[in-house]
Amino acid sequence: MVDQTAPLPVTRPNVSLWRHLRRSDNFNGLSLVSPTFLYVVVMMVVPICTIVVFSFWTQNYLTIDRTFTLDNYREVFTDPLYSALMQRSLMVSGLVTVVTVLLAYPMAYFIAFHVQKNRMLWLFLITTPFWTSYLLRIFAWRVVLGYDGVLNSGLLSIGLIQEPLTFLLYNVNAVIITLSHAWAPFAILPIFVSLQKIDRSLLEAATDLGDGPIRRFLRITLPLSLPGIIAASVIIFIPTIGDYVTPRLVGGNNGLMIANIIQVQFSRASNFPLGAALAVTAMTIVCGVALVVVMALRLGASRIK
C-alpha cells in the first residue's frame, strides 16, 4: 500500500503546481515581461551604474586607475568653467521649460475645449514635427537665424532693416528658441490629457455659483490641469539639460552647455571618468531641482484648494 501510493505525492503536486503556475498572473506576467525588462536593465540600468562607478576612478592617457577617489567630483565642483556651464544649462533648461509650457497651455486648452471634430488630426499635426528629424529642426533654425539667413535676407529685401541683425544666431537666445520649438509638442500632450479629464459639470457648477470665466479658470481648470503641467515640465526639463547638438549648432561660444563639455570628455579630451562625474553631477542636480519644483507646485496647488 505504501509502495503504490508513494509515487503519487511526487507527481501530483508537480502537475498541480504547473497548472497553478499557468493560471497565476505573477508567473504569466513576469515571464512575459521579463525579456523586455531584462533588455532595458542590461542596456540602460547596468550602463548607468557603470558610469557612476567610473566617476570614482581616474584615467591616465589610456589606462584606467581603479582606485576609489573623489578627485573628479572635486574638479567638477571647483573648476569655475564647469559651474558656469552648469548654471547656464540649468537656466536654459528652466527657461525652455517655462516658455514651452506657457506657449503650449493655450494650444492644449483650445484642443481640449474648443475642438469637437478632428481632435485627433490636430494632435497628429502637432506631434508630427516632433518625430521628424531633430537634427533637421535645429538645422532649420540655423538657416532661419543665420547672418545671411532667411530672416535677415527677408527683412533686408522688404527694406525693414538696412544691415543684417547679428544678435540672432550663436547665443543663448538662439538655443532657447530652438529648444522651445523642438520640445513644443511634448508639452502639449500631457497638458491636453489632464484638461480633457476635467469633469465638465465642475465648470458648470462654478458658473452657476457665480464665478466669472477668469475666476473659474484659476480655481478649477488650472489646479486640475496641474498634473499635466508638472508632467510636461519634467519631460522637458530633464532631457534638455543633456542636449549638446543645439548649443553646438546655434549656440556659439557663449551658448555652450554642460552636455558639450561632457561630449568633449568622451571624444577629443578622452577623460571618461571626469566626463562620467560631470554627467552624474548634472543628472543629480537636474533631478533634484525637478523634484523640489514639483513638490513646491503640489504644495501651492493644495493651498489654493
Binding site: 506576467g29 558610469i51 486648452y109 529685401s157 552636455a259 543628472m283
Partner: protein
Amino acid sequence: MRLNALYFYAIAYMVFLYLPILFIPLFSFNDSTIVAFPLQGFTLEWYGMMAGNEAMQGALWNSIKVGVSSAVLATTFGVLGARAIVRYRFFARPAITGVIMTPLFLPEIIVAISLLVVMLQLGLSLSLVTVTLAHTLLAIPYSMAILMSNFEGFDQSLEEAASDLGETPLGAFFRVTLPNVLPGIISSLLITFTISLDEFIVAFFLADTEPTLPVYIFSQIRFPAAIPGVLALGTILLVASFLLLTAGELLRRSSVKRLQLKEDAGI
C-alpha cells in the same frame, strides 16, 4: 470672442511649429548655394547631385539596416511587454513598467555615453550593431505606448472564448489576438523605424566609421558648399518621415475604430 482669440493663437502656433521646417524644402529647390531671400529660381540640381554621391548612399543604406532591425527588435519587445502589462496583474508591475518607460525621459547623451563606456570596457568594437541595440532601447517605450493602448482596446473575452473552445494559450494568441492587434504592430514598426531613421545623438557616439544618415548630415553642415545638398537630402528625409508617420497613425486609428465597432455591435 474668446474662442476667436484662441483659434488665432492655435493657427499662429501651428505656423511657428511648421514654418522653420518648411524652409528646408523651399530652399532645396532654390537655384543658389546661399540660403537667403530673394529666391533665385527653380532647380532640381541639388537632387540630381545625390545620384552620384556614394558616401550619402552608404549612409542611407546604413540607416535602413539599423532602422529595420531596431524596429523589429523594439516591436517584438513591445509586444511581449505590453501584452504582459495589459493582461496580467503581477508582482512589482508599476515599478517594472516605470523602468521600461524610462528611456523616454533620459537625456540621450546619458544613454550614449553609458553604452559607449560599457561597449569599450567589454572590448566590443563600435559598429552598426551597437547603434541598432541602442536604438532598440530608445524605441521600446514608444512601441510599448502604442501597443498598450492597442491591447487595451482588445476584448479579452474573445481570447477566453478561444481557450474555452480548446485552443492552447499560444494558439489563441496567434489565431485570435494577433490578427486583431496587427494594425497596432505595424504602426509600432513604422514609428520605431522613423525614430531610428531620425536619431542623431546616440548614432553619433556609437556609429564610429559607419555613419547613419543624420550623422552624415551633421558632418556636412559645417561646409557651406554642402548646404544645398543637405537641404535636398533633408527634404527627402522629412517627406519619408511624414509618410511613414501618417501611415502608422492611420493604421493605429483604423484598428481602434474596428475594435470599437465590434464592441458597439456586441461582438
